[in-house]
């Protein structure tokens, strides 16, 4: 392989670069560079590929174009200050990241949040899952050449954004959780709006399904393409829908329930072949299951407090009390200035996010600032299989494979 010299052709970032067309035709292999600014890479991933005709022989992903230093930043601020940064990890489902992070720190601090808070968290997690999968499906369709489903799913996403905005004040940089609770209780009438959305969504999903699921072209492009065997998927540390599409029953909501997921009745969709089409089907089914969970929640939403009232060193008291009572004023001051006080120790917590298992490994030496925080990003692990998966496929398949892996670079590079 290596004795052939090849010329470099760049697509996406800088057009042709010192490539002599004739020589290229004569040489057997071609080095092709895709990205880091290319529509199929969903952000700033770069692929360096070696092609034999149309066949990919080698594929090396290059990451880091969105490395923003989140882990170093985390070591330099208090636990609550880091919440906004978790939004920007997987920016298609910020609420789920917020929740995963909050639970990780709470586990470390040994705080238990009340039932209503858990319910709110489950609710926003599932809404985030729907919103992320909607985009995943829409963009996947777009990668396979279908523009319309994208418009349909985005219409639904906009409805979700409106709901998020009413709850958190922002469309998707929500920063909604705090250590020991959430930022505020759900507004009045919000649940009714969610329930109306839940009634409308299945129709939209059906429309998307009509456009894609039995679409001949879509089937041709996705079926049997990018097959990942279950043993490969495990070996490369895949999680989330990508792992389940390969037939591994792994869902942390069932296996290691957190935030009261054991109370809800839902199924975990599993694929059989592990190809791009299965990954798409698993996502669609997951949206339906999420809807089930949300409907169960709406029917029976627990009352009570929405933050851990007894965690005096973790969660700031309500505003009225701060303004009227000395003790609460000091408590608030301490939490704001020094951060929530956490015991020394370490924790590893993973939550089942739309993209896979998002893990936080936090080492604390006590106090309000973490000593070390590692973010285990599902997209990072899911992408690592690309080196193994891409060779043997046609160049045109790479768009579909990337679309079906459904990764986000913000989380991958951190």
């Amino acid at each position: 392989m290596s004795e052939v010299t090849f010329k470099e052709v760049q697509v996406g970032d800088s057009g042709y670069r010192d490539a002599v067309a004739e020589e290229r035709l004569n040489s057997e292999r071609m080095a092709l560079n895709v990205g880091p600014s290319h529509p199929t890479t969903h952000g700033v991933l770069r692929l360096m590929m070696e092609l034999n005709g149309d066949l990919i022989e080698k594929c090396e992903p290059v990451l880091g174009y969105l490395h923003r230093g989140d882990e170093k930043i985390a070591e330099n601020m208090t636990y609550n200050q880091f919440v906004p940064y978790t939004d920007r990890l997987d920016y298609l489902s910020p609420l789920a990241n917020n929740v995963a992070y909050a639970i990780a720190v709470e586990n470390l601090a040994g705080v238990k949040v009340p039932e209503r808070c858990e319910a709110i968290r489950v609710m926003i997690c599932e809404m985030a899952r729907i919103s992320s999968h909607l985009l995943g499906m829409g963009v996947f369709g777009m990668d396979a050449g279908a523009w319309t489903p994208f418009m349909y799913t985005f219409t639904e996403r906009e409805k979700l954004y409106t709901l998020f905005e009413e709850l958190t004040g922002a469309r998707f940089t929500t920063s909604f959780t705090r250590i020991g609770g959430v930022a505020r209780d759900i507004p009045e009438g919000w649940l009714q709006k969610v329930s109306r959305f839940c009634e409308e969504l299945p129709k939209a999903i059906e429309e998307v399904e009509k456009l894609l699921t039995r679409n001949r072209i879509f089937l041709d492009r996705t079926e049997g393409v990018g097959v990942i065997s279950s043993s490969d998927a495990l070996a490369f540390g895949l999680t989330g829908p990508n792992l389940r599409a390969s037939g591994v029953d792994f869902d942390l909501r069932k296996d290691k329930p957190y935030s009261g997921y054991e109370k809800y009745d839902f199924e975990v969709p599993i694929g059989t072949r592990g190809d791009c089409y299965d990954r798409y089907l698993v996502r669609i089914e997951e949206v339906r299951e999420s809807l089930k969970i949300i409907n169960q929640l709406i029917d029976d939403f627990p009352a009570g407090s929405w933050y851990a009232e007894d965690a005096k060193k973790i969660f700031a008291p309500p505003k009225e009390k701060i303004m009227t009572s000395m003790e609460e004023l000091i408590q608030n001051f301490m939490i704001v200035t020094e951060g929530p006080q956490v015991k020394p120790g370490e924790i590893y917590f993973e939550a089942e996010n739309p993209k896979g298992a998002l893990g936080f490994y936090i080492v604390s030496k006590g106090g309000g600032v973490p000593y070390r925080m590692k973010i285990r990003a599902p997209s990072f692990c899911n992408l690592s299989i690309l080196e193994k998966l891409a060779p043997g496929h046609m160049l045109a398949d790479i768009t579909v494979i990337l679309g079906s892996l459904d990764f986000v670079m913000g989380e991958c590079d951190r």
Partner: protein, 205 residues
């Protein structure tokens, strides 16, 4: 199930490892040389088939073994995690055996740990930087490295020629604002890390 018997059994087979007390999951410590042995056993005999995470912790320059590699494994049968702590012996040029042959997933995680801490994973097939660019001279997650960064040239010469841009330390007067945690009330107020210079005020040399 991860219970007493399981742990005793494991320790008997691997006398070099120790159980550390942690409240969330079973934590073993293991010398670097035995890491491949232990992980292979955990994968093949104990169904820990998913490497969820591999990372490192910089314990500070004062500590005898400064860099500690932390591995998290998950078992789809036990539904539980196991954590392995393992120290790198050399503080100047830390080395660690690569477990890439046991878990292919370790490939990128090890590259990241190399990128961020400078730990060389021996036996790794393709050990180069993954997040920072290849020529970057520092290891950002080491404790002595400042959050703001350090002056280095931008990787592309032709761009530098046109724009005169370079990698500069970020001005920290804009935050993050963190309390020192010491002193009374106003002394403990959150402050920016480095207020000595701004975009307008020259950086003191």
């Amino acid at each position: 199930m991860i219970d007493k018997d399981f742990i005793e059994d494991l320790l008997k087979k691997h006398p070099y490892s120790n159980v550390k007390h942690q409240n969330d999951c079973l934590t073993l410590s293991c010398p670097a040389q035995q890491i491949i042995d232990l992980t292979t056993e955990l994968r093949d005999q104990q169904t820990f088939d998913l490497l969820v995470d591999l990372t490192a912790v910089d314990q500070g320059e004062a500590v005898e073994n400064r860099f500690m590699v932390v591995i998290h494994l998950y078992s789809c049968i036990h539904h539980d995690y196991i954590r392995i702590h393992s120290d790198c012996t050399d503080n100047e040029s830390p080395e660690f055996p690569s477990i890439h042959s046991v878990y292919p997933a370790a490939n990128w995680h090890e590259r990241e740990a190399f990128d961020m801490f400078g730990i060389v994973f021996t036996g790794h097939p393709n050990l180069k930087r993954i997040l920072m660019w290849d020529e970057y001279p520092y290891f950002p997650l080491r404790k002595e490295f400042p959050l703001a960064g350090i002056d280095v040239p931008l990787p592309a010469d032709d761009v530098v020629e046109v724009t005169q841009a370079s990698v500069e330390p970020a001005p920290m007067m804009g935050g993050p604002f963190v309390s020192s945690g010491q002193g009374f009330m106003s002394d403990a107020e959150p402050r920016a890390k480095d207020e000595s210079w701004t975009e307008k005020k020259e950086k003191p040399v």
